[in-house]
């Protein structure tokens, strides 16, 4: 946003000689304009937030281990569910994908760096400050946000704690960061491709990120509008979400979900790109249906703008609205089905091996599809009246986010770690990480389908006795999944510190420009653009 207002037609470009290796010390990371440095910072920040949000999930699961209230106060439980959601969405998943975009997109399209390297640094460094502001609310008088990550009015306006003000401003900061990051990514993809890298030759990760960035620029300002109106209602006497003044609390839900639904695709489209890179590499076949993948992604993005009210079937909207949003939502299954079909067909008769990236990607295809099917169940408006606000919904979105977004991030990490560090990671430990994560996450979330269908409401610290067994299983699975992630941390640190030397292209079937540079990738790559045939 701040580097964009001046430029010069370059007729006389002077030599610029200060590009060698990275600077030394802490200031390297603070002042850097290098996309690889910034990508690494995004990824580490994301992991720190993943553990923070994960710790909150552990508190939730510990409380729900058995019926009754034993570990935390209900008020604090509400803060945990709220902060777990916010931290995981805005702190863990989104920054991880931006980190991967930073690292990989310039290398994939043959660009010297991101289009606006200084603004790139700013996009990142806003995040730790926003996270500090958000987390500090937990220590304020009245506690942190306790109204769910969706912060519906009037829970967040009339009944929210005083710290809601700082929650709002941290959302503003996260939004500014996302918008600048997305503008940077779009400008990079549209403007910095190497000669010959036409749009339809771009790797799918680049395509999905182009569309994701578009979604971000389209909906983060809408979220900013929503929290601004909340702020006005709280402090300046307006009545946007108060029917007493002619406003409407349901209006909040409309604005929020107009942001919120594209937001959930922001968290999954880059995963589609990652999996579309990894499955062909380990099936040793070209991706089946590249063009249809591009169009399917674009269709999903378009549909994401016209389905938001399926989150609000029970709030009281006109019948015609229920019908429209129900059918529009079901339409999403078509392009998503195209994608799943393409991945499976890519694997079909492939010469497959199952290294860690492929294990995570294969699990992604199966488990994300389960999450997609439960989404289809939820899209049926009359049935949703039964499922709404139950653990079935929690099961659904955790199935698309954990084995969807998170598994794709794991897969991407293992796939590109050799390129980032120059070392191979420990394949045995990575397989252990996969199986423990796979078992842990299914143990955690699969029983939630059952308790949800049986009527257990979400966001409640206590439950009826008949749900006790399934909740115990969920909690055990949660602890397993949570502790396993320290193994992931160990594997990464081990890989950074040493290990078998990685060749430029460690995966036999891998495609793309990133494998044409040495491992580890030099600090500056493609300072002169490569020729793409």
């Amino acid at each position: 946003m701040s580097t964009v207002t001046d430029s010069v037609e370059g007729t006389d470009v002077k030599a610029h000689e200060d590009h060698h290796g990275p600077a030394k010390g802490l200031m390297r990371w603070v002042l850097t304009t290098n996309h690889k440095d910034i990508g690494s910072m995004y990824l580490w920040f994301s992991f720190a937030m993943f553990l923070t949000g994960g710790a909150m999930a552990m508190i939730i699961r510990a409380e729900l281990f058995q019926p009754g209230l034993q570990i935390v106060e209900p008020a604090f439980f509400n803060q945990m569910t709220t902060m777990h959601g916010l931290i995981m969405v805005f702190g863990a998943v989104m920054p991880a994908f931006v980190g991967l975009a930073n690292w990989m997109i310039p290398m994939m399209i043959g660009a010297p760096d991101m289009a606006m390297p200084r603004m790139n640094n700013w996009s990142f460094w806003i995040l730790p400050f926003a996270a500090v502001m958000l987390l500090s609310t937990l220590f304020m008088e009245g506690g942190g946000p306790n109204f769910g990550w969706t912060f519906y009015a009037p829970l967040s306006t009339d009944y929210g704690p005083p710290s809601t003000t700082f929650f709002i401003f941290s959302i503003h900061m996260l939004g500014i960061s996302s918008i600048m990051g997305a503008i940077n990514i779009i400008a990079t993809i549209l403007n910095l491709r190497a000669p010959g890298m036409t749009m339809m030759k771009m790797p799918l990760f680049v395509w999905t990120w182009l569309i994701t960035a578009y979604l971000l620029i389209a909906v983060m300002p809408v979220l900013a509008g929503a929290v601004t109106m909340m702020l006005m209602d709280i402090h300046f006497g307006t009545s946007f979400f108060n029917a007493g003044g002619g406003g409407d609390p349901v209006l909040f839900q409309h604005i929020f979900w107009f942001f919120g639904h594209p937001e959930v695709y922001i968290m999954i489209l880059p995963s589609f790109g990652i999996v579309s890179a990894i499955i062909p590499a380990f099936a040793r076949k070209h991706l089946f249906g590249y063009t249809s993948m591009v169009y399917a992604t674009a269709s999903i993005a378009f549909l994401s703008f016209i389905v938001w009210a399926h989150h609000m079937f029970t709030v009281g909207i006109p019948l015609i609205g229920e019908l429209f949003f129900m059918y529009a939502t079901m339409l999403i299954a078509v392009p998503t089905g195209v994608k799943v079909f393409n991945w499976v067909t890519t694997m079909f008769r492939g010469s497959m091996t199952f290294e860690a990236p492929m294990l995570f990607s294969t699990a992604f295809v199966v488990l994300f599809t389960i999450g997609g099917f439960s989404g289809l169940m939820l899209s049926i408006a009359p049935a949703d009246f039964q499922y709404h606000d139950t653990y079935f919904v929690v099961a659904h979105f955790h199935y698309v986010l954990v084995p969807g977004a998170i598994f794709a991030i794991f897969a991407a990490t293992y796939y590109w770690l050799p390129k980032w560090t120059g070392h191979m990671y420990d394949e045995t430990l990575a397989k252990v990480h996969f199986w423990m994560s796979f078992i842990g996450m299914n143990l955690t979330f699969f029983p939630m389908h059952f308790v949800g269908l049986a009527g257990m409401p979400r966001r409640i610290p206590d439950y009826a006795l008949q749900f006790a067994n399934f909740n115990e299983i969920s909690s055990i699975g949660g602890f397993l999944f949570g502790t396993t992630q320290f193994l992931f941390l160990f594997i990464i640190i081990k890989c950074i510190r040493g290990g078998e030397k990685a060749p430029a292209k460690p995966w036999e079937g891998a495609e793309g420009l990133e494998w044409s540079v040495p491992s580890p990738a030099p600090y500056h790559t493609f300072t002169t653009p490569p020729d793409v045939k």
Partner: protein
Amino acid sequence: MANEGSYYVPAQSKWPIIASIGLFLTLLGAGMMMNDMSAGVKDSSAHYVFYIGGLLMAWMLFGWFGNVIQESRSGLYSAQMDRTFRWGMFWFIFSEVMFFGALFGTLFYVRILSVPWLAGEGDGAMTHELLWPEFAAQWPLMVNPDNDLFVGAADVVDPFHLPLLNTLLLVASSITLTLAHHALRASNRVRVKQWLVATVILGVAFLFFQAAEYVEAYHELGLTLSAGIYGSTFFLLTGFHGAHVTLGAIMLAIMLVRVHKGHFEADNHFGFEAASWYWHFVDVVWVGLFIFVYLV
């Protein structure tokens, strides 16, 4: 990066981290000020945090843009860099369009759906019966459902008085700005300055009349932020628009200073163009406001 025609990747910069700290302090201070105001704290020192953050932001903007201008003028940028700036500004304005889209969406939702529902239309019969059976839908909404909690305005702003004048001022400013741009392309720098001065004056005049309108609304019409949904949407839309006019006027004033300093060439002046894109954007938003907030 020594090749001619290669893309300029800047070295380390201190501005982003200063910007992050400045943004953090500005918003932290703003949040503390609001919480202290709502809690009735008398001796709040929150505004110091806000001011320090604001000063850091101002210093950062000055230094960062200064760097960019310097790099541009010393010929480090290429045609490709120019396209980056154009894409950047285009998508930034698109994000602003979506922000105003949310605000306009709010206005339309309230006018077309929720206020009539409160009065019993559509599926709202029982809502009307049980909550506020006396309530009648109208727009502008002068009597709110709970008119003790949110006292409705006595009157609304007459669109054919200050708002019409302001419309003429802003449309005229878009024309003068275009004339300035044409003059810049023709390398007629005296004319550029004249038209740019005229544009800034028109912008400032707009803001002056907008402020006068707010004073009138508060003191004579009883139209306030807490006058129910009409006042809420009125001030939200016009207020954010006014903030954008202020920002745009500052941008144009800086362009004026740069023209004075001899910056820009006839075929190379994207800083100027970016500011003018922004100005035309706020102008278009105003036309929408004039129609849907004041007229219809």
